[in-house]
């Protein structure tokens, strides 16, 4: 961590400058996190009258709880589905836009704005077009012979939230893929063309491998997004249902703690989530260091 070669000589000023950020970090980040750690080791009785220290028992119970394990697998399906769908679409669109000269700007403008839409609103939009009674998509599916109902079918509900979450994230992935594509030297592609590679082959043997730093970076970002930023999508639409089918980990922490008031278990879940964020952040940062060298 460097500073400038020359620095201002002042003993107290840097602390004063840092004070607001540090105060907020301590009060609203570190203290609550330590409380979560502490509470994860406690259990309250049903009436909230007695609190006992139970060690790691809350964690042990979680891993025995089919509801929690279900949430883990729902999260995995949701995160993988969202990431693949969103990145796949984005890569296709970015690679195509990158061919364009005059229309590149216009297509980009048309594709980036969903970034601005809140996950909760994205959820409501898709919830509406998939509405089993009045939605337009179920109407078409009906004609094709499929009865869509995300109120009763767990897989329909999962698909719905994946669509909503992936839709909002396409613009983000698109912009990063486009930036990545534009940083690939044109001369490499021309060299491959002279070597006789077809456009399709050029993409998979030259462009895609060179894009791999961007792809990897986006994978981590998308997993983080799907795991933590999509609370709104779930809460505004399925609320974890039907039958827990879309109860992802972040939603479960909220539901168990805030609605179910099971503080010990919710705290233990928080701690596990924190561990996951820490791991993902470390991966992201180690990767960034490498990307700089690349």
């Amino acid at each position: 961590m460097q500073t400038k070669q020359m620095t201002f000589p002042s003993r107290w000023l840097p602390y004063a400058l840092l004070a607001p950020q540090v105060a907020i970090t301590l009060v609203f980040f570190l203290w609550p996190a330590s409380q979560a750690l502490y509470q994860s080791l406690l259990r309250q009785d049903a009436f909230g009258l007695r609190t006992t220290f139970v060690g790691l028992d809350n964690f042990a119970r979680l891993f025995d709880d089919p509801g929690y394990l279900n949430a883990v697998s729902a999260t995995a399906v949701f995160a993988v589905g969202t990431t693949l769908l969103s990145m796949g679409m984005a890569l296709l669109l970015a690679a195509t836009v990158n061919r364009m000269l005059r229309s590149r700007e216009s297509y980009t403008t048309l594709l980036v704005w969903p970034y601005a839409i809140a996950p909760a609103i994205a959820g409501v939009l898709w919830w509406f077009i998939f509405n089993p009674s009045i939605g337009i998509v179920p109407y078409i599916l009906e004609i094709l012979g499929y009865r869509w109902n995300h109120r009763t079918s767990g897989s329909d509900a999962m698909l719905l939230v994946i669509f909503a979450a992936a839709w909002k994230q396409i613009s983000y992935n698109f912009l990063f893929f486009l930036a990545g594509l534009q940083s690939i030297p044109q001369s490499l592609i021309e060299a491959a063309a002279i070597d006789g590679a077809s456009p399709f082959k050029r993409f998979w043997t030259i462009v895609f491998p060179l894009l791999s730093p961007t792809t990897f970076f986006l994978m981590v970002v998308n997993v983080v997004y799907a795991m933590f930023d999509t609370f709104g999508v779930i809460h505004a639409t399925t609320q974890g249902g039907p039958a827990q089918a879309t109860n992802i980990l972040v939603y479960k922490v909220y539901a168990d703690g805030f609605v179910g008031l099971n503080l010990g278990s919710s705290a233990a879940q928080s701690v596990i989530l924190m561990a996951i964020v820490v791991v993902l952040t470390v991966i992201q940062f180690r990767f960034i260091e490498r990307r700089v060298n690349y």
Partner: protein, 282 residues
Amino acid sequence: MVENRPWGNLLAHLILIVGVALVIFPVYVAVIASTQGPGEFLRGTLPLLPGGHALENYSAMWQAGLSRVGAPPVGQMLWNSFVMAMAITLGKLSISLLSAFAIVYFRFPFRLVFFWLIFITLMLPVEVRIIPTFQVVADLNMLNSFAGLSIPLIASATATFLFRQFFMTIPEELMEAARVDGAGPLRFFKDILLPLSVTNIAALFVILFIYGWNQYLWPLLITTDPNYYTIVMGIQRMTTAADSDPQWHLIMATVVMAALPPVLVILFMQRLFVKGLTETEK
């Protein structure tokens, strides 16, 4: 491109048009729905062309809201969202600028400790510490207040790092020249550093404003008084009731109004937005 085959271009445009259509479709449906009268939704499927009730729906929501489900007028929720988003944005920008300035332009004991302290906030999103954070805010009597809506969210590692990185690229001599010219640290910050950071501040402003506007879980947790409802969470209050009393035309009018401000920000400041996005995430 190496070669430009006409059919290749045609295919490319086709892919893009379908892609754009898919991206726009949900919003198109929402806009259409927001122009219908209440009766349209009882007939089964939704029409794909605009109806004639736009003005009526929008003004009803703007002024009155859905009182039956306890949602305040949209005008007020938009104002609440705006205040929250601005407070979060300006708060994050100012404390990050100050922190980055301290970290880059001063050498002092425990500098690294502070750096890591700020870094840690990256690893503790509100979603993983919901209940204890709620308790802190409740203990500080900040429930149902703009302070409670914004202050706990304004610590920002990414903004701090972005400014740190930018400050490191400013030539050393500029600060030395300012010192010879009689500028102390605060005057240097105000006269030199801030004006030079304008583009970065603007780019970050776009990103942070959208971040603030789209907050959902946090306002949901700490507001019970409808006077502090923000638009994004207010919509959820409406949809929960919508299944029993489908007011989709009104809900969609609200959705459009909720999405419009941040979308306009992106469309009008696309260049700054792209810069902000690609640089904060580096």
